[in-house]
Subunit: 473 residues, 2 copies
């Protein structure tokens, strides 16, 4: 049995290495684009009554890899993550082979200590001196649990008795992530009780507008309980001014959460951490390591300033079959989690951190900012491109807009959409787009530090070529 397993594992490693090597080949398309309808015809999805046997798994793996979108390709700029770190793969292999669950120390002794070590480290970086935390299932989940903490602090009887008013209101910027709306739905607060505060010209929450909105809500008989500031917005990459916001939340006694899912790790860069000045004034903080820190999805944390909050807010009765009052009881992380069974997500970050060091992450982030500067200047120097937002982070929003062209706003939108589609369908590049102040912005994300200036030149060359082909036809 072991011999067969060895053979098949070594074959799989070979296929994976081939795949990773192909990703680095400039001739490899970022995706062999096929619509869902077509791919269903070309890929055998069927689940047989009788198994096809282990040997057959290798060609299936190959085919799977051939049909994936190559997120570690230097042509992938689509999302707030990308690239490949071997330490992440190693850790996920070990995690899977050791297959355990994060609820109790007894079944996950070393993984529990590793998760706690990461939480302690992140709390130190944020500036939570008596903090706690838990790994969660993503930034969306972290934002929701933060709002739950705030809700149950403001309405302590909600946990046991439920909610019976519609008075709670939360405040986020109009550039914040949609997860706050999801949280309001889940928690019985209601999406209409999420007040979107307008942002300034730099896409940062306008603090005067925040204070006015809070005052208005109070006059309306509402109870402001939660402000969700964002460190690194999804489209523009803006950082809300934490110091100023914290002054307001302190004045009105409101829970301050920082959604640092995207920009939180900037705290690891000596050069750029000023973007998050004031992080220690928050009550909670969402941190994703699978975005800017490059470990495989999912690797997310919710950090909380005041120890004891998570147990108070998240624990429940009925757990005596699993949590036993023994010498390791205080290490049973399941007691403060909203999950029961939970995968080990800590090992990949911890192993990567061991190998690259804190300074490695600093260098990684500085390099991404450097690449951003390169792209920004490239766009500024190009008569055919328009920079739509002055980048504060590694999000670059721009569009095709030739100086000598004569296109209407609507035409520009549709040309840029077409360029993006053409690049995707040809596999030349995957870059996303978003509506930005009513116009279509191409959003290029620099999350993969292996990307070079040459790769970026190649991207823009394809982009302009596609634009010319489209506008000439």
């Amino acid at each position: 049995m072991m011999r067969e397993q060895e053979k098949i594992l070594n074959l799989a490693v070979e296929k994976i290495l081939n795949y990773l090597e192909e990703n680095q080949n400039p001739a490899t398309p970022v995706v062999n684009y096929q619509s869902a309808n077509l791919l269903q015809e070309n890929f055998d999805l069927s689940l047989p009554e009788k198994g096809i046997g282990l040997e057959e798994s290798i060609p299936i793996i190959e085919s799977y890899l051939n049909h994936t979108t190559r997120t570690s390709s230097p042509k992938f700029f689509n999302q707030l993550w990308g690239g490949f770190e071997i330490t992440g793969l190693l850790a996920e292999m070990v995690t899977s082979a050791a297959n355990t669950s994060m609820y109790t120390y007894e079944v996950a002794p070393v993984a529990t200590l590793i998760e706690l070590k990461l939480i302690e480290t992140l709390n130190n970086i944020i500036g939570f001196n008596n903090g706690e935390g838990v790994m969660v299932t993503g930034g969306t989940n972290a934002n929701m649990i933060a709002m739950l903490c705030a809700r149950n602090k403001f309405v302590p009887e909600a946990k046991k008795d439920g909610l019976d008013d519609k008075k709670l209101v939360a405040f986020v910027s109009d550039k914040s992530h949609y997860s706050f709306l999801k949280a309001a739905n889940l928690l019985g607060i209601g999406t209409s009780n999420i007040i979107k505060v307008k942002s300034d010209i730099r896409n940062r929450m306008d603090v005067n507008a925040l204070e006015s909105a809070i005052q208005l809500a109070i006059i309306d008989g509402k109870t402001p309980f939660f402000v969700g500031a964002t460190a690194g917005t999804t489209v523009a990459g803006a950082f809300d001014p934490l110091l100023d916001i914290a002054e307001v939340t302190k004045k009105y006694n409101i829970w301050l959460h920082v959604d640092g899912s995207w920009g939180g790790p900037v705290l690891l860069s000596e050069k750029h951490k000023h973007l998050l000045t004031g992080s220690e004034l928050a009550d909670s903080f969402a941190w994703d390591a699978h975005k800017l820190m490059g470990v495989p999805l999912i690797c997310s944390f919710l950090l909380v300033k005041e120890k004891g909050t998570l147990f108070e807010v998240c624990s429940s009765g009925g757990t005596d079959y699993i949590f036993h009052d023994d010498e390791n009881y205080s290490y049973d992380l399941g007691k403060i989690s909203l999950q029961c069974g939970r995968k080990v997500d800590a090992l990949k970050l911890w192993l990567s951190w061991k190998c690259y060091g804190t300074s490695g992450y600093g260098a990684r982030i500085d390099r991404l900012f450097e690449l951003t500067r390169y792209v920004t200047e490239y766009i500024r120097d190009s008569p055919d491109l328009e920079l739509l937002i002055e980048p504060e982070f590694v999000n670059i929003c721009f569009r095709y807009h030739p100086a000598n062209g004569n296109f209407s706003a609507k035409e520009l939108d549709s040309i840029n959409l077409e360029i993006r589609e053409k690049l995707m369908r040809s596999g030349q590049a995957l870059v996303n787009y978003a509506n930005y102040n009513g116009q279509m912005a191409i959003r290029l994300i620099l999350a993969n530090p292996e990307i070079t200036e040459k790769d970026l030149d190649g991207f823009f060359s394809s982009f302009i070529q596609a634009a010319i082909a489209i506008t000439k036809s």
Copy 2:
């Protein structure tokens, strides 16, 4: 770079294979038990400023594996999962190397189709003819989303406006999982509005008691909206009578959810699927593949009978930057998910299913029932052991209770607790315990089909030896 990666990956495979091989050696302890305090001294958790380099990851991996609880050891009976499947490891390696996110078809084309194929297949097995579903972060999460579906169906304005009464009440058996309490906290319903219906002598929800509880709640001015039936309870492994419960939920127009996190896959066994007769009458169903089907954690589904429900209940605004109205829009699974970024959990189950087939799962489950019979008879034949519950599934609750002993109830509890502790600390076995009707029950779970009758003989031999040592001292 590739050469270095190849070397390190092959070394990691070697270490993992050694680990798996050791797990099969009868001399290997299930855990090298150390308290959290001690382990922190013996394991270098530190995160350095300067990285230690990739080469060093191999001894770290070895050390991590040596300190894990060996969940694929034939001495591990502790939890509702266990064992090792090579297909699971292969798929997790590929998932990690291809590192993508389940929100959109464009970044996860083949993984999206695979997840949809699994959902279609599971719906067919449950009997949902026009069903839908989504992969979630565990059974606890599935139960919560099911309750959210029911809440928003009963109070459609809750999503937008929030909850403003405390009238909603849900019903579960007194043997159900604690996740329903967590869900009630989260959703603003309140844990006191979860009515625990008493169970019968076989630990199944008492349907008459359910109907009485519903009637009482209505008289009280409450709104019964949700019944959570359990297929495979956590301690006893009981299956609530779905047909009878469905009659009640239909009569009173209440959402019927089945928590099949543990027992759902019994539907794959021709011989035992009768335990879930009536599954097609439910409105939603939680299914974990990482328990009875043996794939690595987490691999969970929420299946819903009526297509369109999840979008209605879970979607939010503010998503135009990510979900684009193109030809693949209907395949963007993020629209119906409560997560934004989401790991690919589908590949491991799909690949395993391909290799072993539906019939392979049937045989696996039948074998676990067969092992249960063996253990049951072993306990019955032993004058020193007492079977506390007649097993209906693969949970065996028993205790040390020698026929010729003269121990009080309290002494029996403490002796059994001590036996369990002794087995864990010596690494001879890991088996859990629970309070069952006021007495301490050893709960042995048979989730790993590689376990043999000989392994079980070995377990009981260690158990009795420990008991004798404890009672003699």
